[in-house]
């Protein structure tokens, strides 16, 4: 980038992909010594506005005021692993020499679980999720899809416009029409609506895309979205029926019976419909639900292992707050405590530790089996709502 200002190490905006750095604000802050004026807001390394008296902004990246730091030994372990697994043996290791997808192994999983060094995330997320493979193999380029979708006057396009400034308003990259991330978000969401007409635009995908755009270049963020929609999550997660994500709420409820029987009893006693709270945790893969620093750690694992991680994380969160929930006085306070759980958890180590202790043995096969069953129940239920003609056909798969 020409004549650009660079954020200070672990200072405001430092965790963003360089093309997202807000040059205007950075320029002002370098002149600060001369000017008496104080900047309007201060920002964290992710570009979220930090209110002076309050660090509890749900989108904010700095729950405990500690900036995002890379752990040098962890970085070395990653470097060693990448060098070890890549087949060429001469010269310096650069990203273009590293395979499009990394061979899965216990070693790689444990590295992912311990966290990806932030500077390596763009490259590794693309490889772990299969997005890079998609990008390379696609017959249509992102540019063509943007071109094809840029003149669309569809309902989806209208809804996207309505939501562009309502997606991440507290972040400098998405706060106003002139913010650098807004046209990128528009293009990515329009291209997705064009590529997946059965989905169109689903509120929620915007949150995921905006978070990706903070760290990845636009085209890569788009392909990550494709990997999430096609491979990491089951079918119909974002479709007009939301059947996929609804099914997963039923699977979650079943897993609670199995893994957290005391909580199950509590939810039953108080007639609490958990899906009202957890549906959007799943729909956004925790984007806009947890602090962004925690989100990065969850996404490291999510991009490697897929939707299994959403269940494990949710079960871990519920386990961490189980005592508090059981001590709650009434259903309203249980409901509120449940809603607040994600925003109260800061410690990724604690959460992932609990999640794996409790549900580390959960497998994709087990989740898939439950999904098939609950999808059938769900379709049967909806058939009954739709009227008698549907019921007669669907009753065969009903409970």
């Amino acid at each position: 980038m020409s004549g650009s200002h660079t954020p200070s190490a672990s200072g405001p905006f430092s965790a963003l992909t360089p093309s997202m750095w807000p040059q205007e604000i950075l320029a002002k802050s370098t002149q600060k010594e001369e000017s008496v004026e104080q900047p309007e807001f201060s920002y964290d390394e992710f570009g979220f506005r930090v209110d002076k008296e309050d660090g509890a902004n749900p989108g904010s990246g700095r729950p405990s005021g500690v900036p995002l730091m890379e752990d040098p030994p962890q970085r070395l372990r990653w470097q060693a692993h990448l060098e070890f697994t890549h087949n060429h043996d001469v010269g310096d290791l650069t990203w273009d020499k590293i395979a499009v997808s990394l061979p899965r192994s216990e070693k790689l999983r444990s590295l992912v679980l311990a966290g990806i060094p932030h500077s390596m995330r763009p490259q590794l997320w693309m490889r772990l999720s299969g997005a890079l493979q998609k990008k390379r193999n696609s017959e249509l380029s992102y540019r063509e899809m943007v071109k094809n979708s840029s003149n669309d006057e569809t309902i989806a396009a209208k809804q996207i416009e309505k939501d562009l400034l309502r997606t991440m308003p507290s972040n400098v990259c998405f706060a106003s029409v002139s913010s650098i991330g807004v046209p990128r978000l528009r293009r990515v969401l329009r291209a997705l609506a064009w590529l997946y007409p059965e989905i169109g635009y689903c509120q929620g995908t915007g949150m995921v895309a905006a978070c990706l755009l903070l760290f990845l270049e636009e085209e890569d963020a788009f392909w990550m979205m494709c990997a999430i929609i096609e491979d990491l999550l089951p079918a119909s997660y974002f479709s007009t029926t939301l059947l996929g994500v609804q099914t997963d709420q039923r699977v979650l409820r079943h897993l609670i019976v199995q893994y957290l029987p005391r909580l199950d009893k509590l939810l039953q006693e108080h007639d609490i419909e958990l899906s009202l709270i957890t549906l959007h945790w799943f729909l956004t893969a925790f984007a806009s639900v947890v602090h962004i620093k925690l989100l990065l750690r969850l996404w490291d694992l999510f991009f490697y292992e897929g939707s299994l991680v959403l269940f494990q994380t949710t079960l871990g969160m519920l386990r961490l707050k189980e005592e508090e929930l059981i001590q709650s006085e009434n259903s309203a306070s249980i409901f509120n405590t449940l809603s607040d759980i994600p925003s109260q958890i800061e410690d990724a180590e604690l959460l992932l530790g609990e999640a794996m202790r409790l549900a580390g043995s959960l497998t994709d096969v087990a989740v898939e089996t439950q999904r098939r069953k609950h999808l059938a129940y769900l379709i049967a239920d909806q058939g009954q709502l739709l009227g008698t003609s549907a019921t007669t056909n669907l009753s065969q798969v009903g409970p």
Binding site: G59, Q159, K162, D163, L165, R166, T167, M168, P169, S170, A175, C202, Q203, G204, G206, M207, S239, T240, T241, L242, L243, Q246, E269, H270, D271, E273, S275, L276, I277, L279, H280, W281, L283, T284, S288, Q327, S328, E329, N330, S331, A332, S333, F335, N336, S339, L385
Partner: protein, 213 residues
């Protein structure tokens, strides 16, 4: 209407906010429960929930206000959202006719999933932007009257009528419930769930046991 901070109330009323995306449901909720308004609020995904305890005469009413995304596909999950609701604010943006044109569809949605006795108020929000008005007050009022709905125009931005809107709905519910409890001793588990008069559950104590299904 008085505010009470302690968890001490006679009734819990669940009230849902419905209406198109972007009409200001979330700001109506935050204005009523926290006296806050945000110019740059985020799209609501899924369901949000806030409470405020208010006094109606000598009765303390805990209002549970539920807020959800207005986008069409979220209606797939609404049966759980409406369950137990005794009041609803059907909100449209009086500067956008399209949000009013679909009110009838929302009403049908509501009656499909909620109790027939639910108290419904039609709310034309954003009255502070009257220079951009697209829905005449009289037209909306007539519609409300013909459909047996309460009606008010509000501004979550400058607070106009926000208190009054919620208060009116809660009073109407209270009147219905009072009549109901006089007529029968049966307590409806969901509509009247919560603590009984004067009961103050201590920390760690077993919660009130009148919720049973």
């Amino acid at each position: 209407m008085g505010n009470r901070t302690e968890e001490d109330y006679n009734f819990v009323f669940k009230v849902v906010l419905i209406g198109e995306s972007g009409v200001g449901k979330t700001n109506l909720l935050s204005r009523f429960t926290r006296n806050e308004f945000s110019h740059d609020s985020r799209t609501t995904i899924g369901v949000e929930f806030s409470t405020r305890t208010v006094m109606l005469g000598t009765a303390a009413i805990k209002a549970q206000i539920w807020d959800t995304a207005g986008l069409e596909r979220y209606r797939a999950i609404t049966s759980a959202y409406y369950r137990g609701a005794v009041g609803a604010l059907l909100v449209f943006d009086l500067t956008k006719h399209q949000t009013y044109a679909v009110v009838e569809r929302w009403l049908k949605e509501l009656y499909d999933h909620a109790e027939a006795t639910i108290v419904v108020m039609l709310v034309g929000n954003k009255s502070d932007l009257s220079q951009a008005r697209e829905v005449p007050t009289e037209e909306a009022r007539m519609f409300a009257e013909n459909n047996g709905l309460l009606f008010l125009e509000t501004s979550a931005l400058d607070s106009t009528n926000v208190e009054l809107a919620f208060e009116t709905v809660l009073k109407e519910i209270f009147a219905k419930v009072s009549k109901q409890t006089q007529n029968s001793t049966r307590t409806n588990a969901i509509t009247l769930g919560g603590a009984q008069a004067g009961q103050e559950p201590g920390p760690g104590e077993k919660r009130a046991c009148c919720i049973s299904l």
